[in-house]
Symmetry: C2
Subunit: 208 residues, 2 copies
């Protein structure tokens, strides 16, 4: 059992080290030697867990999708606003992109020219936004003239923009940036009565 | 003179071939051998013009900025809407990202982890959107409660999102996608009277 636990921990350390290398140097430049030494394991141990750099990238993406799923999980308390949940999900995404190198590397791999992603994080995010936007519509929170497709397109494009621009300049992922975006967008998405109940700065903390 | 003209043409062919390689394989994977053969010149000719792959990337970015400048140039006819000009500029950008490999590669180099851009296309675009948003404000086309910063942030994030997502799926750069974004955003940016005069699908052609 102890041996098995150690294997799990080694695997996790390798995924994290790979994410750090991909984030810093890009997938193509990242070297397996650097990844194994960063994880504090031998290159034999690395090859025991992962056959190739591509296999490591697949594992980073899988781990990132687990993070994304947790971020966007909608407990769906009756009576709560689905639109607020969508707003909160974008704040959680921005925060995690600032702090969680595995999620950030997962998204970055999605734009890597030299490799077709097995699990495309940006597409996963798009699917989650779409699901949430449909719930907003079902819940009667969207204006009559606003289509789900229009919401998805604007929210996904802007958040992917924040993600990409945030790689070089973290200010794009600041809570204030995300809140300002929602201040601009909310009044055209929802009726005045709904907008009055939504907090563009999110309900996770006193971020502004 | 003829010799000089040929040198100019060779340089242009190399920049275009480099852009095609960067767009297809990414900066790190792209090889100088492939670039020179793609351009139909000897590797000696390539090295006569460009000392390194990095120098070629600098040249692609410079050429892309020239394209960007032309796309966003505001003739500024008196009485015309600055906001319409901004809408038109985003349509021109999306069209050029679809069709012009040099512009597309210039933007892609901006997100390349292995290299710090000398001319960052996304930052240049941001600066141009900001200049245009200020003109909208000076022209009294923005709502009183809308700041220039909020407009810049939303428009730049969304267009960079369209650019990045468009690399894998061109539908993100379709005229209809850009128009839908403006349909959503315009009513919160400008007063009803101004919005009524703006065409979200742009005034360049009958795109919708």
């Amino acid at each position: 059992m102890i041996k098995q636990e150690r294997a799990v921990r080694t695997r996790e350390a390798l995924i994290r080290a790979a994410a750090e290398s991909f984030d810093q140097d890009g997938f193509t430049v990242a070297s397996l030697t650097r990844i194994s030494s960063r994880a504090g394991v031998s290159s034999g141990a690395l090859h025991f867990h992962f056959a190739s750099k591509a296999a490591l990238a697949d594992a980073v993406e899988e781990a990132a999708v687990v993070v994304l799923r947790a971020l966007t999980h909608d407990a769906g308390r009756p009576g709560s606003s689905r639109l607020q949940h969508l707003v909160d999900a974008t704040h959680r995404l921005a925060e995690a992109l600032r702090d969680d190198v595995v999620l950030r590397a997962g998204f970055e791999l999605s734009g890597e020219a030299a490799r077709v992603p097995r699990t495309d994080l940006r597409v996963s995010w798009r699917d989650r936004v779409e699901r949430q936007a449909r719930r907003c519509e079902e819940n009667g929170e969207l204006r009559e003239d606003v289509t789900v497709g229009r919401v998805v397109s604007a929210v996904v494009a802007a958040t992917v923009g924040f993600e990409v621009l945030g790689v070089r300049n973290r200010a794009w992922l600041a809570p204030g940036t995300i809140a300002e975006f929602w201040r601009l967008l909310l009044p055209t998405l929802a009726s005045d009565a709904v907008v009055a109940r939504i907090r563009p700065e999110g309900t996770l903390r006193s971020a502004g």
